[in-house]
Symmetry: C2
DNA sequence: ATGAAAGCGCTAACAC
DNA sequence: GTGTTAGCGCTTTCAT
C-alpha cells in the first residue's frame, strides 16, 4: 500500500474552465450536459478550455445534485460447485465492459438469499443513489423483483419472470430451443433413444429446457418412456441418474442434460464404465462451461455478451429517457447455440 | 424494467434528525463519525432519533465533502481459457463480501492491458474519488504499481512485486512452498522420477513455483535431468509437454504442473493413452480450479478468503488510519494447501 | 443564448 | 461538548 499525497496538480473545477473560456460556470455545464442550448462557437471555446485545463466533472457533486450516480449494481455470486457459476462470471464481465462504454460503472454486492439481497438494494439505493439493478437467476415467487418494482427502482433481469405476469424488462435465453436443437442434433446423428436428465419439476428454467427435449422427441415419435430423470443439480446426482439410465433394460444411446454439472456427472459415470462419451454414449450439457470445453463435451452456449448488451439497452433506455413513446420491446428472448464437441 | 416513481417516503436528512433530537446538525454528524466527542446521553438521544426517522447518511454528500467514496476498485478479468480465471473470481467474491463488512464497496472496471488499466485508474480516481485499488497478477515491470504510487493512490496487490524492490503493501501465496509440498507428497508415495511442467523462464510466479519442485527433488537427490518443460499456459501446450515427457526413455511417474491448465493438458494426454491419472501416472496442478475438483485432480489451493481479508486489512489500515506507528507488516506471504485427490 | 442565485446533504474549522 | 458558519462542485431554476 502506498499512502496518499503524491504530487497531484490542483484539480480544475468548472469555475477554472469558465474563467479561462470567458463564460459563466453555467455555460460550461451546459456545454457538457445540454450542448444544444449553446452557440457552436461558445462550445468550441469552452471545449478548448476544458482540454487545456484537463477538467473532469466530479461525480459526487453531480450525484448530489441530480440523484443519479451512474452506477449499476450487480451481485457477485458465490462460487458454488464452480461449474455453473462460470456463466454468471462471463455475464458480469460483459456487463462491466459494456457499461463502461455507456458511461456507467458496475458496483458489486453479495447476498446469500433473497432477503439479504433486498437489504442490499435498500442500502445501495438510499445510500449510494444506485441508478439500476441487474438481477440474475430469477425464480418462482421472486421477492426481489416485487420489491424493486414497489420501490420504483429501475432494473432488468437476466431470466424471465417465472409463474407470474410481470411487466418489467428482462432478457433471457430460449432454453427450450437450446435443448430442442441439441436433441435434433442427436436425432440427425441416428439416435433414437435419447434421455433427459433435468431438475425437479417446478423450476421454471428446468421445466422449460425439458420441454425442448420432449417436443423434439415427439416430432419424431420417439418413445421417451422411462427416459427422463429429475434430480438436484450436482455431479453426484447427475452421475447417479446416468447410472440408473444406463442400467435400464432399454438404455439410452444419448443423454441430454439441463446443466453442465449434471452432464459432467453423467460423463463421469460413462467413463467409469470404460465407455467413451460420444463413441459409446452421447452426452450434451447446458451452459458451455470451461470444464465442458476442456474435456470436449458438447454443450448449449448462452450468448452472454448479447444478454449484457440487451440488458443495458433496456436500462439506459429507461434511465436516459427513451425518446418518443418507447415502443421498443422490453422483453427479449435470445437463442442459444449448440457447441458440438467429441461427446456427441 | 420498472420505471422510477414508486411511493417513496421523503428521505430524512441530518436536519430532521437534529430537530427531533433537539441538537444541532453537527452533533448528529459527530455521533456518526466521532462519537468520542459526544456525551453518552446525547448519543443515546440522537441514536433514538436516527432510529425513529430511519435516517441514513447520503454517500455522495459525504464524498463531496471528504473526498472519500468508500469505494474500492477491482478489475473484472476477461474469461480466458476459463480455467485459471476461477481463482480471481473467488478472490473477487471474497473481497466483495469482506469489504461490505467494513463499510466499503467494490467497483468494477475492465482493461485489456496495463495501459488501459492505468487509464481506468485515472478516471476512477478523479471522477469517482475511488479510495483504493486492488491489483492482481503482478508481473515484471509492472507499470500499474508505479503509476499508482506516483499518484499517491492507496493500493494493495495480490502478488509480489517481481524483479523490483517495492515498498507497497502486498499479499501473496508462497507458490514455491506449494509446489514443494506437492513434490514431497509424491516422493512419500514412492515416486522417484518427478517431472515439472512450467511456464517459460522470466515470469516471477512461474520461476518461483518451479523452484519448489527443484528443491524438493534436490533434498532427496532425485535426478531431474530432462524432467522439466517450459511452455505457455494452455491445454494444448500442456498436453504436448506431457506427451514429450511420457515418450522419453526415462519417462516420469509423476508430473507436477505450474497451473491447472497445463495439468489438465497433461491429464488429457494420459487418458488419451488409455492410462489412468494417479494409478499409472500421477498429476498435480496448481490453483484448485473447479475443473480439477470435478475430474478428481490433485491441485495446490490458494487461500482466497485469507488473501482478501489480508488485503483489506492493509488497505483499511492505511485509509482509516493505522493507530500508532503502524508497525504491522505490509507484506504477507500466505501458505497454500495441497488438495489431494485421485490423481496422486 | 447566457448569467446570477440558490441549494443538493454533509463535515471541517472554529467559536462558545 | 455543542452550535454556528462556510463550502465541497455541480445543476436547476429563473432572469436577462
Amino acid at each position: 500500500m502506498s499512502g496518499r499525497g503524491g504530487g497531484e496538480a490542483a484539480r480544475p473545477s468548472l469555475e477554472t474552465v469558465a474563467e479561462r473560456a470567458g463564460v459563466s460556470r453555467q455555460t460550461v455545464s451546459n456545454v457538457l450536459n445540454s450542448p444544444q442550448l449553446v452557440r457552436p462557437e461558445t462550445i468550441a471555446r469552452v471545449r478548448a478550455a476544458i482540454e487545456e485545463t484537463g477538467y473532469r466533472p466530479h461525480r459526487a457533486a453531480r450525484t448530489l445534485r441530480t440523484r443519479r450516480s451512474h452506477l449499476i449494481a450487480a451481485r457477485m455470486h458465490a462460487p458454488v460447485d464452480g461449474i455453473n457459476g462460470a456463466v454468471l462470471d462471463s455475464f458480469l464481465h460483459a456487463l462491466t465492459s459494456r457499461a463502461e462504454q455507456r458511461d456507467y460503472r458496475v458496483l458489486l454486492y453479495t447476498a446469500e438469499d433473497d432477503a439479504q439481497e433486498i437489504a442490499a438494494y435498500d442500502e445501495l439505493l438510499s445510500d449510494f443513489d444506485l441508478d439500476a439493478f441487474v438481477l440474475a437467476n430469477t425464480h418462482r415467487n421472486d421477492a426481489r423483483t416485487t420489491w424493486l418494482a414497489e420501490h420504483g427502482a429501475p432494473f432488468v433481469t437476466f431470466g424471465r419472470p417465472w409463474g407470474v405476469e410481470a411487466s418489467h424488462g428482462w432478457v433471457d435465453v430460449d432454453g427450450a430451443a437450446g435443448v430442442y436443437d441439441a436433441t435434433r442434433h442427436l436425432i440427425r446423428r441416428g439416435h433414437r433413444r435419447i434421455a433427459f436428465v433435468g431438475w425437479p419439476e417446478g423450476s421454471g428454467v428446468g421445466d422449460d429446457r425439458r420441454s425442448g427435449w420432449r417436443s423434439a422427441c415427439a416430432e419424431e415419435n420417439l418413445d421417451v418412456s422411462g427416459l427422463t430423470r429429475s434430480v438436484e443439480d450436482s455431479l453426484a446426482t447427475g452421475r447417479a441418474a446416468g447410472a440408473e439410465l444406463l442400467n435400464a433394460s432399454c438404455a439410452p444411446t444419448a443423454i441430454v442434460c439441463v446443466s453442465d454439472s449434471l452432464a459432467l456427472g453423467v460423463w463421469t459415470e460413462i467413463t467409469a464404465r470404460g465407455l467413451t462419451p460420444g463413441a459409446d454414449v452421447a452426452v450434451i450439457g447446458f451452459d458451455d462451461t470451461p470444464t465442458a470445453a476442456v474435456i470436449g463435451m458438447s454443450s448449449v452456449a448462452q450468448p452472454v455478451g448479447d444478454i449484457a448488451e440487451a440488458s443495458l439497452d433496456l436500462l439506459t433506455q429507461a434511465l436516459d429517457g427513451a425518446p418518443g413513446g418507447s415502443a421498443a420491446a422490453k422483453q427479449l428472448l435470445l437463442p442459444p447455440s449448440l457447441v458440438v464437441r467429441a461427446s456427441s
